[in-house]
Point group: C2
Amino acid sequence: MRDEILAYKRERILEEAVKLFYERGFTGTTLDDIAAELGVTKPFIYTHFRGKVELLAALCKPTIEMSLAAVADAAAGTGTPTEKLRHAIVGFTKVVLQRQPNIAIYFREEKNLAPAALAEINVLRREFDHVLSGLLRDGVVAGAFEIDDQSLAALALGGMISWAYTWYRPGGRLDIDATADRMANLALRMAGVRIPVPA
Amino acid sequence: MRDEILAYKRERILEEAVKLFYERGFTGTTLDDIAAELGVTKPFIYTHFRGKVELLAALCKPTIEMSLAAVADAAAGTGTPTEKLRHAIVGFTKVVLQRQPNIAIYFREEKNLAPAALAEINVLRREFDHVLSGLLRDGVVAGAFEIDDQSLAALALGGMISWAYTWYRPGGRLDIDATADRMANLALRMAGVRIPVPA
DNA sequence: CCCGCAGGCTACTCGCCGGTAGACTTTCAA
DNA sequence: TTGAAAGTCTACCGGCGAGTAGCCTGCGGG
């Protein structure tokens, strides 16, 4: 009970911080702004976080972990390389779109992270690229894909999806599931798998 | 002569600003830092730029203009849709890689631009997406491409290339021309054009 | 009923940095 | 040789915002 309330307060702070950092940028947002939005005052935030940069790290890291988990789960699962790649892209796209503000903040404000936090996240990102290009390589070896440079293709795929943080808006033309599905089609085609255009 | 020297000084300020903004971020860089790097003092910068945000706009806008020009030139040129798309992607990729720090700064520091400058750049970006998806649509109409959602494909292509600002490093495995060429192959494949894998 | 304490607030400090006023120096023209 | 103007520097201001010290209040236990 005690802990749940504590966790809830923490969550609320993070929520509001995400909203404001996303809209105004990290340096464009003051702790007083966040506190005001919550109806409290600045020292309240300090009872839950060491400071502004820790807040930033707490917003970014779990989201990057979710991105890695999405592709790692797909790669570790069963199925043909084509199925695995589709799962990986669909899962990753969903993370990006569901946590779009967090992703946007991370890419924009990376430079403001504490060196230690940045290093931890960089490990996750390298692992992400590694898993994704490994997945492509397996598909090539199995004869399912046709890619001459799997590393570059992994970066291209990662970029094509990550980029969605710049243009996706909830309530837009396509919802999250539809976007993820179409992104997966584009990805499979880029990997050299023939996908018939839906009638 | 007078003007050339003036333009040169301006250029040098911009050069150093790009370097520092890229490494430390916009708010993480002071005008004193830039001046020190140039071996001058802060007021010197004010004889060439109105202030820090104008410096930022001067770094970003021409680069976005170059990106638009690359795809617009390709679209306006002659050739089959496939050739046009290849030219567009090769040209755009080269701009991104040659002006990588500027692109990185723009995407990271967009929020720090003056509203007027941001609006001008947004016009260019909309035009960019419009030209690119038009190019894809023409290819579909001509039967050269096979894409069911040209708008989404244009965003995916734009992202896949733009993203290179996050991973490209001069002197890495692939040089600019090689990267641009391979990106174009991936793009054409995504557009549904069959490209044989080089032997 | 009173005590103690936890959780939050009021009210500060302090360093940083964008921007500026005005002095100084160098150059060139008359 | 001198006057003026262009170009740059020294020295400052003022605001802003992260972080903190210490007070206040309401609630649960004795």
